[in-house]
Symmetry: C2
Subunit: 296 residues, 2 copies
């Protein structure tokens, strides 16, 4: 968060996507990839309660992709979302890459002065909310890994989950609603997975949490295509849903419920103690989402 003027602060975020780590070209389309490159950075902006305004795009392109229409199609997808959100492309850099495609997306946004929502604002007694069903992107990834491709199934639920993985939607509208109602004491977008991002949020706030497994919402179709245990694990640990996870002071909880957000648990004063409640059993919650580099 950077001070801008008397009225606004600027927020800036950057995300890098690397071929064969973050995406596979044979699973997606150039249009989906362009859309997702912008979406993941806008999601970070949304998590701060800000509005995206401008973007810089760096692309390292292998020769084989330069020759075809890849870049034109990538921009079609990118601009589809940019137009919807009013984001202006103000610059970038296109380089050669020996083999693999790398996309780095920087997005700048604005938020009313002092109103950026941080990860560090949760307090014991706050309630935990998410914006919508989870696990869809993880389900889509598993469908892709077992040979599913977008548009090849007659089952619309298959296409729906795969689309959640390949072309996720950043939750700008939900973020605006949360911001207008002054609801969130802290917020993060669910990119690594609920369990991991929840722990990120609690660690930044110096708090603990207790989450009720039965209250974690599942993405539509997830339980039709996977058994209940698998669906529950995808909703808890699957990454890239790009929904928002936020905390709400207890006296505001009813407003959050009325706006359609889903309560999944509560914040406690026990810093570092993360608990998962299944029926009457309480077990430690571990960060089982995407662990970035350290995991490999």
């Amino acid at each position: 968060v950077l001070p801008r003027d008397a009225q606004f602060d600027t927020v800036v975020t950057v995300d890098m996507m690397v071929e064969d780590i973050d995406f596979r070209l044979e699973w997606t389309t150039p249009e989906f990839l362009g859309y997702k490159a912008l979406a993941v950075s806008v999601s970070d902006i949304a998590a701060m309660g800000a509005d995206p305004v401008w973007s810089l795009l760096s692309i390292a392109l292998p020769g084989i992709l330069w020759k075809g229409d890849f870049l034109d199609r990538f921009y079609v997808g990118w601009f589809e979302l940019a137009r919807e959100l009013g984001v202006e492309l103000i610059g970038g850099d296109i380089s050669r890459s020996p083999e693999r495609l790398v996309v780095d997306s920087t997005v700048g946004g604005q938020v009313a002065k002092g109103r950026a929502i941080l990860r560090s604002g949760a307090a014991g007694g706050d309630l935990l909310f998410v914006t919508a069903g989870l696990g869809g992107s993880g389900g889509g990834l598993q469908l892709l890994e077992s040979g599913g491709r977008y548009g090849t199934s007659e089952d619309s639920r298959v296409n729906h989950l795969i689309l959640k993985q390949l072309r996720p939607n950043p939750q700008i509208t939900a973020s605006n609603s949360i911001q207008i109602h002054g609801l969130a004491s802290s917020m993060i977008d669910i990119s690594d997975g609920l369990s991991s991002d929840l722990i990120h949020l609690m660690a930044a706030s110096g708090t603990g949490c207790r989450v009720d497994r039965a209250n974690i919402p599942w993405e539509m179709g997830l339980n039709d295509l996977f058994d209940a245990d698998t669906a529950a694990i995808m909703a808890l640990n699957g990454g890239e849903d790009y929904e928002l996870l936020f905390t709400v002071r207890s006296h505001e909880a009813q407003t959050a419920v009325d706006l359609g957000f889903i309560k999944i648990g509560e914040v406690t004063n026990h810093e570092g103690r993360y608990e998962l409640v299944s029926h009457t059993e309480v077990t430690p919650l571990h960060a089982r989402g995407y662990q970035h580099f350290r995991n490999s």
Copy 2:
């Protein structure tokens, strides 16, 4: 250039460096690479007459580099320049890369409102200036290609040229001086090579130019290590010097000379006509610098 407030505009720039395209790990050090990653983006900011303020750094790191001290040493180099310039690292993204290192550096800067120096401001009759000797980085690259390594030669000129290639210095001080004296009607940094960047500048301004080959300054040591023809070609076409090329209204030319800048030619009204004068012969000037992707 983005409007910020009543006093300042914001400028933002991004540069991507890809292993084996833009650098080779066996030729450089992690410290030099970190320094250069920031330097090349700051150079763009300097070319707009602005001051760098913040940076975002995205790095895609192969597993082999993650295990050692590469990243720590990279940051040592990065922060060396950041501290000197007062640049704050406000965020970034570290990803895995299957094989090759990719660094994407975004830098934001500020400039007094309406005072950003653009590429499009040159006019016929302006004079062309550069900030210092050219070709050093190209000479260093040739030394590296023929087996030279930094610090292994007892000839300080060899180390000097190699350092120009591996750890270039952005011309912030010169830029400040140009800005304070209101000297430049247009400006660009010499990253691709004088011939190419000159044509970029003239094309953006809708002008032509005439450059006197004898006036193009050579980097110190260049003519000692290479013959005069090679040195002249390096100064004209060699990239990555990160000196500044700018245009000055004719009545300001003496001020530019007094400040130590070097006059290399003049801007003409013949849009698209780029001329190189050698003795009394006039030949067309071609963009023979680095052609980015399209060249390969």
